[in-house]
Amino acid sequence: MSGVLLDVKNLERHFDGLKAVDGISFTVAPGEVVSIIGPNGSGKTTTLNLVAGTIRAHGGTISLGDTRIDRADSARIAEYGIARTFQNGRVFATLSVADNIEVGLHSTLHATRPFRGLSHLFLLRWIPLLGELFIAIVGTPASRRERIEIDANVDAQLHRFEARLGSRRDDPAYSLSYANRRRAEIARAMALKPTLLVLDEPTAGMNQSETAEVLEQLLELKAEGQAILLVEHKLDLVMKLSDRVIVMDGGRIIAEGRPEDVRHDPAVIEAYIGRRRALATGDRS
């Protein structure tokens, strides 16, 4: 099937008998922005964690393009081209902002990581590791050229958030404000040049103006043709950004469609806003 980037089929995951994700299926097309919404505990973040390989699925399949990725670990999935952010903004606290982004470039490097094709193999993985050590201590002409590319790429990613991170390039990430950490995290994820960007509540804990700023930046990414899968509670942002919205409740998908359709779906209103509110709005419409 062409036109599908991410294909999730009958995905399942349980925690001690609790079915957090209960046989869901959905797709993301290239360049599409898909949001997952739903009440707390409905399985949204678990779904993201499964797609990004942070946790393993107990059933079903996940494919990226033609590649099955549900058995791969999250490092491998990053190499396949899925980059993610975390709900609470996990940056590398002791590294500078620029170095955080440079780590994001890791899976795109070649001259700096010789023989990297062997890094999945037991014992033979020491060949690329020692290769990296050799490059670090001695270096080759190719690795020095790649060094220049790394710096250029880091600057390019920093440029996205020039107003906020431009002056903080060499500051350690722990010194950043919460909102700036989230920005640095997105910049690090984008450094991977992902085919799919997975965002876990990118505006959690942000005020209105910060949220608006994140929306602007995500719209820019969307305009660049970046496919995005995100979990978000702020419906305003979801409605403005998404091509398609998936609504989850109790580990299942209860509705799916264009933002304006989902917004008026009675099942969604009931699950998301609650029965009383649903009755009230139902009276009016």
Partner: protein, 600 residues
């Protein structure tokens, strides 16, 4: 066979008591308490002192020991552990390691290091069932433990504080919110644990018939493994783990001899950590509940070092001292340089990869023995043996450590501690008597045996080490390793396999540890297993933390202060260790980034 089983039960009894203490404290504070280890030795020595020297009866001596150990535990908790445990469990663990060194050596100063015959206060073979002989002593030990364990479980189930202890170990925050006096709960747990440690110490002395201040470590490590086997935090698990381990060990010694003990324990530890990190009765920790991602020592910015400092330091250390220093200064300086090499190489593991390995004496010993053996028996030149020593240390240590990179937090420190001890135990098994007459280095036929020559060789190696460490730090690889130490889950999401980079960092550190070991061996010209103790590992950790855990040049400063100053002040070995411990506690408490790093 039945005798071996009985022996196993009696050993297991002691381990169970110790393991319950460790598990109890871990449950309510989330800290692995090494100080507990010392109470075994301390309990034994105090009991010996009261009975053999003061002539007190056993029934009076025993409660005295328990009270003293409990009280000491309270002091330790108030002054050292609790202030750190809230924010930095890993730092608290390190501090308890220092406390245990201080206690062991204080007890050595007080009671002297020799083995004392423990008075036979109870008959040891007056009873018989079938053809199996045992004594009142054995019955009393097992009986006391049984009574204590029943009392303990009743206390935990029905007692007010007991219930508070259980609540605190399930969720400290929630317990605090519900008005449970968490501080009191932690103090009580610490007192109980310390008293149980003392009791276990008395029992082991009764059982083996001798007491020694430093005997606590081995028993403590075994008790810790028992607690891990049972599931840290689970008291029933601790008891089961203690007895299982006691019996396994007893049969191991029966079949393979006494030196195999530490190796058996280490193997069991590793198997548990890999197969079932939560232990038999504990829960397997989830990622989300993992309390110890990353390292505690990293925040705060290093002081900016002015450029002129480097050439000045180079001239002072590399030219001025060798030209003007007398033999004493140069010999001390050589020690400083060797430890600086080992510690600088260790910064990539402890500082960048965030792995607080506590067993660097292992790879140091490998390097020393390989270099000594190559030059002694195969006529290798020192200059060839030196890099081979580093390589072999790196390879062997990496192979042995390869199973542990999947485990996290406290466990990795414990596993490396066990690894260091196991390596030295294997060496002791193979070459128990040590190696003599290790050849001095030669330069085109001229022996380089003067203190100046040793000093200059080591200075050269240190310069190379620092250059390599700086190259690694500023490279992409260095940043990747640091990202793993900072947040392993986020690193994975960026395509960085944390396990691999931790293993590589450890291999780099083991390489320089091996180099340092080789240099030590050729300077001493004599080595035996007693040189490569836990103290050596502690020293490396202390140097690195003092100077700034991620800073290679900090290792040089730390080494100058801790080795150089101690030597020049002519402290006795025991006093020195106590000072190391104290320095470690103070630095971790007040300047966790090290003395060259501004607090943040």
């Amino acid at each position: 066979m039945l005798d071996t089983l009985i022996a196993g039960l009696l050993r297991g009894n002691v381990y169970a008591l110790g393991a319950v203490g460790i598990s109890l404290v871990f449950g309510v504070m989330n800290v692995v308490n090494f100080a507990q280890f010392s109470f075994f030795g301390l309990g034994a020595m105090l009991a010996w002192f009261f009975i053999a020297t003061l002539g007190l009866p056993f029934w009076l001596a025993l409660p005295l020991v328990l009270v003293i150990c409990g009280g000491l535990g309270l002091v330790i908790n108030i002054t050292v552990v609790r202030p750190l445990a809230k924010f930095l469990p890993l730092a608290a663990m390190l501090s308890t390691y220092a406390v245990s060194q201080i206690l062991d050596n204080a007890s050595q100063v007080a009671f002297s290091a020799q083995f004392r015959v423990f008075p036979a206060v109870l008959p040891t073979s007056n009873l018989q069932i079938g053809n199996m002989r045992f004594g009142t002593s054995d019955v009393v030990m097992l009986g006391t433990t049984a009574v204590l364990m029943v009392a303990m479980s009743l206390f935990l189930k029905y007692g007010r504080i007991g219930r508070a202890i259980r609540a605190t170990s399930q969720d400290q925050e929630a317990a605090l919110q519900m008005g449970i006096p968490v501080a009191l709960v932690q103090h009580v747990s610490f007192v109980i644990a310390s008293a149980l440690g003392g009791l276990a110490g008395v029992f082991i002395a009764l059982y083996v018939g001798v007491a020694n201040p430093s005997s606590g470590l081995n028993i403590g490590l075994t008790a810790f493994v028992a607690a891990t086997l049972g599931g840290l935090g689970s008291l029933v698990g601790a008891v089961i783990g203690g007895f299982v381990l006691g019996i396994l060990e007893s049969f191991g010694i029966h079949f393979f001899g006494d030196t195999s003990r530490q190796i058996i324990i280490f193997v069991i530890l590793i198997v548990v950590l890999i197969v079932r990190p939560g232990g038999l009765l504990g829960k397997i920790p989830l990622i989300s509940t993992e309390p110890l991602t990353g390292t505690f020592l990293g925040k705060g910015r290093p002081f900016r070092i002015p450029r002129w400092v480097w050439p000045v330091a180079f001239l002072a250390i590399g030219v001025l001292i060798p030209l003007t220093g007398n033999n004493y200064i140069l010999t001390t300086g050589t020690q400083v340089l060797i430890y600086a090499i080992i510690a600088a190489g260790f910064t990539v593991t402890a500082g960048q990869a965030g792995v607080l390995a506590l067993g660097q004496a292992g790879p140091i010993a490998i390097g020393a023995y390989i270099s000594a053996a190559l030059t002694l028996y195969l006529d290798f030149s020192f200059w060839v043996a030196l890099p081979i020593a580093g390589l072999v240390a790196a390879i062997v240590a990496s192979i042995l450590a390869s199973p542990i990179w999947g485990v996290k937090g406290h466990y990795i420190s414990i596993a490396t501690l066990g690894l260091g001890i196991a390596i030295v135990a294997v060496i002791q098994l193979v070459v128990p008597q040590g190696l003599y007459n290790i050849p001095v280095p030669q330069w085109f036929g001229t022996p380089l045996s003067t203190p100046t020559a040793y000093y200059l060789i080591d200075f050269g190696v240190l310069v190379v080490t620092l250059l390599v460490m700086f190259r690694i730090r500023s490279s992409h690889l260095g940043k990747v390793i640091s990202s793993v130490g900072s947040d392993e889950v986020a690193a994975l999401a960026s395509g960085v396999r944390g396990r691999d980079y931790k293993a590589l960092a450890f291999a780099i550190s083991a390489f320089f540890a091996g180099i340092g070991g080789s240099l030590l061996a050729h300077q001493y010209t004599y080595i035996d297993p007693t040189i490569f103790t836990m103290l050596m590992s502690l020293l490396v950790v202390t140097i690195v933390i003092m100077g700034g855990v991620g800073l290679p040049y900090g290792a040089v400063v730390g080494s100058i202060i801790l080795i150089g100053a101690m030597e020049l002040l002519r402290f006795t070995p025991e006093l020195r260790i106590m000072v190391y411990g104290l320095v470690l506690i103070l630095v971790v408490r007040f300047r966790p980034g090290g003395i060259l790093v501004r607090n943040s």
